[in-house]
């Protein structure tokens, strides 16, 4: 197939306290500071790739985003893939979120992904996820169906669905 390709590039956040947000994303995701762009935005990312741009709000007291379950029209959340099919990395990330005092909103075993949803200092809803192995989700007819909690798996009490299914298939 020919033609241009498209991929998700980055999220621009307007923040109330630039230093606080830089510290948060550096501590949580391990993002590196990649400098500033021509618009004065602070660029953060990994592996030299910009994934997040932070700009300081003119009014630090401006309204914050509404978060589920409140009804709203707008951007609900933005997601970062933190590792390919490595659930232990997600468990370590879960412990890190708790260590830095981040507010965990909810967790989901989507089967195709294992996801943690949490709030940043401005109450933006952010998702960190790991996928199940690609050969598994590529074979799924509808890979987005499950909304079960992932809490027990993250606490080490059980395995996520895809790992249980893989173990059962052996």
């Amino acid at each position: 197939m020919t033609g241009p390709a498209l991929h998700t590039s980055h999220l621009t956040l307007r923040v109330a306290d630039l230093g606080r947000s830089v510290r948060f994303y550096r501590d949580v995701f391990g993002f590196a500071d990649l400098g500033t762009d021509a618009d004065g935005r602070t660029l953060l990312g990994a592996g030299g790739t910009v994934m997040l741009a932070l700009e300081l709000a003119r009014d630090a007291d401006a309204p914050r985003p509404r978060v589920e379950p409140d009804p709203f029209i707008g951007m609900e959340h933005f997601a970062f893939e933190i590792a390919p099919d490595d659930f232990e990395t997600l468990r370590a990330f879960y412990r890190r979120l708790k260590a830095v005092g981040a507010e965990i909103h909810h967790t989901v075993d989507h089967i195709v992904t294992n996801s943690i949803y949490f709030l940043d200092p401005d109450r933006n809803l952010i998702e960190a996820y790991v996928n199940c192995p690609r050969e598994r989700f590529q074979a799924m007819e509808h890979p987005y169906g499950s909304l079960e909690s992932l809490d027990d798996a993250l606490e080490g009490k059980c395995l996520p669905t895809w790992m249980r299914e893989a173990a059962a298939a052996k």
Partner: protein, 156 residues
């Protein structure tokens, strides 16, 4: 990808050794008045993009769009807003100001710009520093950007 920066570095410290490296920006989820309308809008403006597809409509009227299912099962998830929901003005918020997608070549980028104009949208074009970007809002007022590299060192 390597990034070059036309402005001075801030001097802030780099990553703190998280024990992992974030692999990629994955997707955005939006709440809209009319998910079918929004999905058709994106299908129309990026219809020349390689592999772009609406993967399926599953439970609760959600639409999953991606151009690279093998690596990213969705880039944009469009969900219906709940009854009684009102719009948040992204310009007035501390919060998500814009979501950006990269198009890999300038020709594809110009086609997207043309499609936006065909739809009566007056996009904001931002060019320079080895890249070109178009910023626009959808029917619900949600802010997006498409950008492409136009020269060496081009970065968001």
């Amino acid at each position: 990808m390597s990034v070059t920066h036309p402005e001075p570095h801030t001097g802030m410290s780099s990553g703190t050794g998280a024990g992992f490296t974030v692999r990629k920006a994955g997707h955005v989820v939006v709440r809209v008045k009319d998910p079918e309308r929004t999905a058709r809008f994106f299908e129309d403006i990026v219809r020349d993009i390689r592999g772009f597809t609406r993967k399926g409509v599953v439970q609760r009227g959600m639409h999953f769009l991606t151009s690279d299912f093998a690596d990213n099962h969705h880039m944009l998830l469009i969900r219906p807003a709940k009854p009684g929901a009102t719009a948040q003005d992204a310009d007035a918020l501390v919060g998500m100001a814009r979501v950006s997608f990269e198009i890999t070549d300038p020709t594809g980028f110009e086609r997207v710009v043309a499609r936006l104009i065909e739809k009566g949208i007056r996009p904001e074009i931002d060019a320079g520093h080895g890249r070109k970007a178009v910023r626009f809002r959808d029917a619900d007022g949600l802010p997006y950007e498409f950008w492409c590299r136009t020269g060496a060192g081009g970065a968001p």
